[in-house]
């Protein structure tokens, strides 16, 4: 691969990259990050999303004949740049949805997208109470919000110990990133510790997390049965190498959804072998949709990843799943509103009816890549199932069945938070009829 070929995506995205935006296309503005500290995740995720849209355009001629287009603006994962890109691209015609893959940028856009009536997708992340679509009509933390992630991890540990009752008397340490993202799950771990009777220690690692000696000495003193790693970026490999230096067994460390990529484990070398992490989408390229992308997109020289070895990596597959969910929301909305370019509010309706059973997921060529989703007007997460994968030094291997978080336990807490937000902002609480009526106007 030539030098120029390799750097071309970074060069182009660093300035501005777009496919032509036509009024009769369905458009996705992308606040991507291909340079900067989180570029590895950004290139994988946005690469996967674009690869899936390219597949739909190339193989199917678009969604029911409506071509998908996209524009990229570089954010370097910085909130102010993300907002600037939003302001710059929001006048493009036919915008279907925003997908920034950044908690900070998403927070900054909530008021804007609500005013624009355009969906904001925060797959696997974002503000937890946006799950409540009654209060946040345009925000969709699809598949997994932070509270469900927490519940899924505790359920997995319980399954390893022989059931929830076996958690009583165990000790779990949570090592979290010193940021709003890292702190978001503190009360949920406390709630679950009370419910199941396990001892809990929560330890903060200051950003960026490139030095964790003190934290792991505290962990050694506490002697927990498990450590949950709620990290981000460089914090993850440093946690694994520091755990090794302190003699903590790696197979007792469970990573969260932002500590589960190849980029998190490879730098840690043998310290990461045996490490387990949660995910909503399996890695690997054996799934039919991945094989189609390789055949139709990469073999034709249209792939977005500069390094084809990354096809099927965690972030790439997350981007592909994100692409499936966006495209299917458009398809569902088209079934009601017609096979044409839809407005943002019509696509919002599509997301609020995004119900993909395991059978439909199989039809889409994604069986076992992810399980299912069941979004409604009031549940914008959509009951995503999780699975756990273990690193063997070369690749991730799935080591659990699909596990359901304890949604019933979490829902009242989410509603309490969202209703408080609605009260503070003077927002109405939507009903199903409101959600349906809004788009008709």
């Amino acid at each position: 691969m030539s030098f120029l070929t390799r750097i071309a995506p970074a060069l182009l995205a660093a300035t501005f990259l777009a496919s032509p935006v036509l009024a009769d296309d369905q458009h996705f503005p992308l606040q991507s990050y291909r340079v900067g500290p989180y570029a590895a995740g950004g290139t994988g995720f946005f690469g996967g999303f674009i690869d899936y849209m390219t597949l739909i355009n190339t193989r199917d001629g678009g969604v029911n004949g409506v071509k998908l287009t996209w524009s990229e603006g570089e954010t370097e994962y910085e909130v102010e740049k993300g907002v600037e890109v939003y302001q710059r691209l929001k006048s493009n015609p036919g915008i279907a949805a925003w997908n920034p893959l950044s908690v900070g940028i998403a927070y900054a856009m909530i008021d804007g997208v609500t005013a624009d009536k355009t969906p904001l997708i925060t797959i696997n992340h974002g503000r937890t109470d946006t799950t409540d679509g009654r209060v946040f009509p345009y925000v969709f933390p699809l598949l997994l919000n932070p509270y469900s992630e927490t519940s899924g991890i505790v359920n997995y540990i319980a399954s390893k110990e022989g059931g929830p009752e076996a958690l009583k008397g165990k000790k779990i340490a949570v090592l979290y990133h010193g940021s709003p993202y890292g702190k978001e799950t503190i009360p949920i771990y406390e709630l679950l510790a009370q419910k199941y009777g396990f001892d809990l220690v929560q330890i903060e690692v200051p950003h960026p997390g490139n030095e964790q000696g003190a934290q792991w000495l505290q962990i050694r003193r506490e002697k927990p049965d498990y450590v949950v790693l709620r990290g981000w970026g460089v914090m993850n490999p440093v946690a694994l190498t520091t755990a090794q230096r302190n003699g903590f067994p790696v197979d007792r460390i469970i990573g969260n959804v932002w500590s589960n990529s190849e980029e998190d484990v490879r730098p840690a070398g043998d310290a990461a072998i045996g490490y387990t992490a949660i995910t909503t989408q399996a890695s690997g390229n054996q799934y039919p949709v991945l094989q189609e992308i390789i055949k139709t997109v990469y073999d034709a020289g249209k792939g977005n990843l500069s390094d084809p070895a990354r096809i099927g990596s965690v972030y790439h597959n997350l981007g592909i799943v994100n692409g499936i969910l966006n495209v299917e929301a458009v398809r569902i909305a088209q079934a009601r509103f017609g096979n044409r370019t839809l407005t943002g509010d019509e696509v919002r309706w599509g997301f609020e009816h995004l119900q993909l059973s395991p059978e439909r997921v199989k039809e889409l060529g994604a069986e076992n890549l992810f399980r299912s989703i069941n979004v409604t007007y009031d549940n914008h997460e959509g009951e995503g199932y999780v699975t756990f994968q273990q690193w063997d030094g070369q690749k991730w291997n799935v080591v659990s069945d699909w596990i359901a978080p304890d949604w019933a336990l979490l829902r009242p807490i989410i509603e309490k938070s969202s209703e408080a937000y609605a009260k503070e902002k003077g927002l109405p609480i939507r009903s199903a009829a409101d959600a349906d009526a809004a788009v008709s106007n």
Binding site: R6, I7, A10, L11, R34, V35, G36, P37, Y38, A39, A40, T43, G178, Q202, I203, E204, V205, P206, H207, P208, N210, E211, G213, A214, Q215, L217, Q218, R220, R221, G233, V234, P237, V238, T241, Q244, R245, N246, G247, E263, R266, P267, A268, G269, A271, S306, D307
Partner: protein, 298 residues
């Protein structure tokens, strides 16, 4: 129980000392440039990233370890002289703030160039030094930490000897004392600045290899400057010995503070605690513990 607590406190302090050595490795690069040109080189972190990324990218392309070291040294030398020619020389005799801002801009240019040339992927760097722990009197130690400490000690000794006993080192000190006087006695300022930036590049390579082996070689390497700044304030910007002593003090202090004071603040204090220590030192002793006191007449 008391014995266990004592042992634990000793372990926290020891861990901090070993971390401090790593901070000092970065700080020494700053000191080298400040000592000879009075410039606080904000681009030192970017140079660490650039050196490590160049090295690991060459190794991944099949270049043998020592070949990659030699090639990276050549690249850092070229970079040092290029910086002297294109940035420092046109800005000669400008205020320290102007030069500082120039290095701030330089840091972004180097970071961007590093990613443009070598890509944005995270790389594993295996130096073949074990990270596995072993116990000495109940304390956990790792070979990696001890090797890093040895390398830092050797570097301090070598640089101290260099500045004291070699012709070039003496020339560096002359330029640091008075640039105009140095020029008047025939020293070539451009060459000396180029050489000292090269030396800072060598230090960046060593720091980049050790930090890269610990963190992985990735963009975040450039953020390790945040760990070096309080070390510089405490030790003095122009003292190599000060960098190593302050590194040890900062490392041990921040770890002890995290463990014993952190719980009163909800944890996660070590990031800012080192800066609080530096602030106190600034108030009491503006030139740091080992820095040269500057007396100016107006």
């Amino acid at each position: 129980m008391a014995w266990f607590e004592l042992l634990f406190a000793a372990e926290v302090a020891l861990g901090g000392l070993l971390s401090g050595v790593m901070y000092a490795l970065v700080a020494i690069g700053f000191v080298l440039i400040y000592k000879t040109s009075g410039v606080l080189n904000f681009a030192q972190g970017s140079m660490v990233l650039f050196a490590a990324l160049t090295f690991v990218s060459l190794v991944e392309r099949g270049v043998p370890f020592w070949g990659a070291v030699a090639a990276t040294l050549a690249v850092m030398t070229a970079l040092g002289f290029a910086i002297e020619r294109t940035v420092l020389r046109p800005l000669a005799n400008r205020s320290p703030m102007t030069l500082f801002m120039a290095t701030l801009g330089l840091s972004y240019v180097i970071e961007g160039a590093a990613q443009l040339i070598w890509g944005t992927q995270v790389h594993r760097l295996d130096l073949g030094i074990s990270n596995a722990p072993f116990q000495v009197w109940g304390l956990y130690l790792s070979t990696f930490d001890l090797v890093a400490a040895g390398i830092a000690a050797a570097m301090v000794a070598a640089l101290t000897a260099f500045f004291r006993f070699t012709h070039t080192g003496l020339a560096f000190r002359a330029v640091a004392d008075d640039q105009f006087a140095a020029l008047a006695v025939g020293l070539r300022l451009g060459r000396i600045w180029g050489t000292v930036w090269t030396a800072a590049g060598v230090v960046a390579l060593v720091a980049g290899l050790l930090w890269g082996a610990r963190l992985g070689v990735q963009f975040s390497l450039s953020l390790i400057v945040l760990k070096a700044l309080p070390v510089l304030v405490l030790g003095g910007f122009d003292s190599i010995l000060g960098a190593i002593v302050a590194g040890l003090v900062i490392g041990a202090t921040e770890k002890l503070a995290e463990v014993y004071i952190g719980p009163f603040f909800g944890g996660g204090i070590e990031g800012w605690f080192a800066y609080a220590v530096a602030l106190v030192v600034l108030l009491l002793r503006p030139s740091g513990l080992f820095g040269q006191k500057i007396v100016e007449r107006y």
